[in-house]
């Protein structure tokens, strides 16, 4: 009787410990910094990604049609340290880059697409959300 109890206890401890370790240290989670463009409209940003044709060159999270393989994959752009290899990755720099890439980096292959500041803020906010966009939309729908 004691023996069974003892074995059970050990089993629970071992399995519980492994579960804790996995969830605490090995489970994939959001490690990137929080990049927020507060007044960016995520839904509009998503539409702009298609309208300006960002999707022609980049892979973008939560945009099925965005499967371009010309420029970098933007799914985890939030975790990157530099933008286009030259600008520190900060929301203001992101907005500036989207508006005039060739002014900032004359050698870049990314075209100037006459993106307005508001469009750039919306696109930037959406890009920084990455794959969390779906979750945020689901939460949004739940509260409405």
């Amino acid at each position: 009787m004691y023996r069974t109890f003892f074995l059970l206890l050990i089993a629970i401890l071992v399995i519980g410990g492994m579960t804790y370790y996995t969830l605490r240290f090995q489970w994939p989670r959001d490690r990137g910094p929080k990049m927020v463009i507060a007044d960016g409209d995520l839904q509009r940003g998503r539409l702009m990604v298609l309208e300006f044709g960002c999707s022609g060159c980049h892979i973008v999270a939560s945009v099925r049609q965005a499967r371009g393989r010309v420029g970098p994959n933007l799914e985890n752009i939030r975790e990157q340290i530099y933008l286009a290899g030259i600008l520190p990755n900060q929301p203001d720099n992101m907005v500036q880059w989207l508006m005039n890439p060739r002014e900032i980096s004359p050698q870049t292959a990314m075209p100037d697409l006459h993106v307005s500041e508001q469009d750039a803020r919306d696109i930037g906010a959406f890009l920084y959300m990455g794959s969390r966009y779906r979750m945020s939309q689901a939460a949004d729908n739940a509260t409405h």
Binding site: F52, G53, G56, G68, R69, Q107, T108
Partner: protein, 342 residues
Amino acid sequence: MSMKKPVKKTCHSKETGQRNQGLLSGFILLIATLLLVACSVERPHSILDPAGPAAGHIATLWWQMFWVYAVVFIVTLSLLTLALRSRRREGSPMGSRFVFAAGVAIPALILVGMLILTLQTMDNLQATAEDLNVKVISHHWWFEVQYPEQGVVDANEIHVPVGSMVRFELSAAGVIHSFWVPRLGGKRDMLPDYYTELYLQADEPGVYHGTCTEYCAGVHALMGFRLVAHEPEDFSRWLEQAADPPPPPVEPQLQRGQEVFMRSGCAGCHTIKDVAPGTLGPDLTLIGGRRTLGAGTLENSRGNLAGWIANAQALKPGNEMPMSYLEPGDLHALVDYLWSLQ
């Protein structure tokens, strides 16, 4: 024995009652969902939203079939329910005459009636006189469009005037494709070495989706086109503009773009009127004004155009256009030049 039977029966009917209620609410839910979907979704491809006489005939036939077969379906299922729920008898209550009438004679009559309606519809689809001739030749995953009388060549976009009967002469370079504009009419196969005809008319101005509807291997799913119906005066203006070759570029950026086009191999496959003679790929004389890129694959915008030129393989895998490794400056100039060809 006589005690048991009624008890069993009430129990049974209660159960079926509950099941029927479940079925009924499921059915109502299904209908409500279908209605909601039908109301909220844009339907650029729907044959139930006809925009021309041919599609109108086809939609009418579709609804006739829908209602007749809906009645048949409901009657059949009602009989089945009745058969399952009624008690067992030694002999058939209705006799073999009923089985012959409902099982053979009535279906045969309905099918003959439907055949007559179908033949009538097919007859209505044929026109004899046309106002405009358009030749469409399908290639490996794009459509070449020619206006032989006006000397205009375009690709993946067909412009027609509203209210005019257009005769399409269809053929294929290579394998069999099929030409379909769901909101304007029926499908017609496009065969190699043998042309087929299709008469279509658009009643309202607008952009209609068209597609290849015969599996042609590879990226068949991304082989589409747009049919743009203009008011007659807009159409003649478009035709005049399209017949003129594009003016030689003046700005240095556009001149550089044209030079890149000639030097980097684009000219080997693509035609630009009076500039380059290639015939393997779509004619680009009017590329800047087109609505889509890659035969309906992408919306045409400067960003998408740049992405398509640089690596079309990622966007439409297996199409015949190779990846290009242009200098970024050359790419920008080429995009600006092509964008100026409207």
